[in-house]
Symmetry: C2
């Protein structure tokens, strides 16, 4: 199907003027006479002329497109981030190209390459879980293409980053439980290799210390409870069978929290009156009407917005401007629904 694009030439021919005049008239260049401008604009309107953005991109070597590399689209947190990115990008006149790594390193390498080849003006990236080699990202960075990391950042590359304050989140979640009267708060860990989980654990410990509660290592289960519900259940089972069982559980995500909740109920105990739960919400709970679990909501939308803002700023900076890399740390929000009080 041949698309009969109206071009600047068509208008020129019709009006018997030169293409350059049309171009100028269209962008309201002061040199052009009001009369010509009017004619051109009217004809353009009539023919429904739309500038060919590809030609523009080629000429200006600017595509007005930003690339987003994302580990998974089907994920509450990440989809929220996309939404935030889209929000800002759209308002600033940029299109958003999304490439999903599916948590695969190889795919991430291909994706960054593809986006680069598509000449995006800048790129937002959150690394896959597998990624430990940063050559593909360093390549882009060295190429001078503006880049901003969000959530899963790469420390060794000097560019702006947006992250969540997980320490603070872990701290506040725990503090909340303490203030509700819980005293023996267990901690279901996430994968220890990831920075954010260690941060949350540290926040948890700080809150305990601050309130004069002991850090009981038997309540801190190091196994990763946040990927498999059954693991979470097993670990909770173990906690409940302790001589001195916990009266609250800190879960690193929804899978862990849900597994814990189910097991607790199976034991005939009640949430939150017998055992309180606070869960980080990276997926389910934000959507879930579960008033018994206090959730730590991740600021996905804000993260997307902030990352897009920083990227666009970097893209639009004049060549001689010095862009200083900043790292934005966003706070989580503690969502207490209904009566989650002990």
């Amino acid at each position: 199907m041949k698309s009969n694009q109206i071009t600047i030439k068509d208008i020129a021919r019709e009006l018997d003027i030169s293409p350059s005049t049309v171009s100028r008239a269209l962008k309201d260049h002061p040199d052009i006479s009001p009369k010509t401008k009017k004619q051109v604009r009217e004809l353009a309107e009539k023919l429904n002329y739309q500038p060919n953005s590809i030609a523009l991109s080629l000429r200006s070597s600017k595509s007005n497109t930003i690339g987003v590399v994302i580990p998974q689209v089907v994920h509450f947190f990440f989809s929220t981030i996309i939404s935030g990115i889209e929000d800002i990008a759209y308002a600033a006149g940029y299109s958003v190209m999304v490439a999903q790594s599916n948590e695969s390193y190889d795919r991430e390498v291909m994706d960054t390459k593809a986006l680069f080849n598509n000449r995006v003006d800048g790129i937002l990236v959150s690394m896959s879980r597998e990624t430990t080699d940063y050559a593909h990202l360093e390549f882009l960075h060295n190429r001078g293409i503006p880049m901003v990391f969000y959530d899963r950042v790469c420390d060794s590359i000097d560019c702006s980053k947006v992250v969540v304050d997980d320490f603070d989140g872990g701290y506040r979640a725990t503090k909340h439980l303490i203030e509700q009267g819980y005293k023996r708060i267990a901690h279901l860990a996430g994968p220890h290799s990831l920075h954010m989980f260690r941060q949350r654990l540290d926040g948890y410990k700080k809150a305990l210390q601050e309130h004069g509660l002991p850090i009981d290592e038997s309540l801190i289960l190091p196994e990763n409870a946040s990927d498999d519900e059954n693991v979470a259940k097993e670990l909770t089972e173990r906690l409940l069978n302790l001589d001195e069982r916990p009266d609250a559980i800190f879960a690193n995500n929804d899978i862990a929290a849900l597994g814990a909740m189910i097991t607790i109920k199976e034991h005939g105990l009640k949430v939150p009156s017998d055992i309180g739960i606070v869960g980080f919400s990276n997926w389910r709970f934000t959507a879930l009407t579960e008033p018994t679990i206090t959730t730590v909501a991740q600021p996905g939308f804000e993260m997307g917005q902030e990352a897009a803002r920083l990227l666009i700023e970097a893209i639009e900076a004049k060549d001689d401007e010095v862009i200083t890399s900043v790292t934005k740390v966003l706070k989580t929000e503690l969502v207490v629904r209904g009566s989650s009080v002990k």
Copy 2:
């Protein structure tokens, strides 16, 4: 930051041959001598030459990009669709440009226009809830730009479509309840204006009839229970207070199902032993470990894949080929978790 793109010219200059020779060598044109090819390829490799896809697009008037207009990104069903689209597009060498209408008609108009101006090769669209005027879509269609609708389709435009078989879903969900022994199945409706909800209701009725059960209008609540949990609760309340209360509930989405479940429990009744629930899962339940509720899962990933496949097929069809519009109807999947038997 000036990006020093390596171009075909650079290679030509270095090797003291013409750009066209380089171009040909790079695409393994038979005319070029093996020696030249080798030289060119090696230098290209060494300089890390990457063809400028914008120049290619301009020349071929093909961008290898497909546009996706989506009502909401942060939605389990829709994000799954994006994932399916991305999957197919990536494999076929296309990039995906995502534009979110946020269920706004105006925004949808802007989005389609923006994608069009970005010269996407084709467009996948699911209409916003507000959309009742199709001029913007007809415009694209008349322009000859390949277009495929998914989920929220526009009947008046002749192009391929991918939809869910809601009648079948409603039918099977109801049938399942009946086979579990439930006899008085209530129906919490969705917004009556939307086709899919009427379809499900029809499926529900057919299942009842087929099994010789009466269609009791007092059990079919016409109010839209699927947007507001409180409405769902109220309606369930009303159902439970009937002289002959239902022994099962058909909910049109997770909000309705969840509201129903909570209310049922508040009445001291048990799900599913006292009252069974089947819920369409457009958001929460797919993610929710709720073994007491049977869910009708929407085939989002397949829908995205199928839509992308149809679109790419249309894009890549030769000009003289006749593309016949097809409408793919995808089946839902009934997910029975744990013991949802009465």
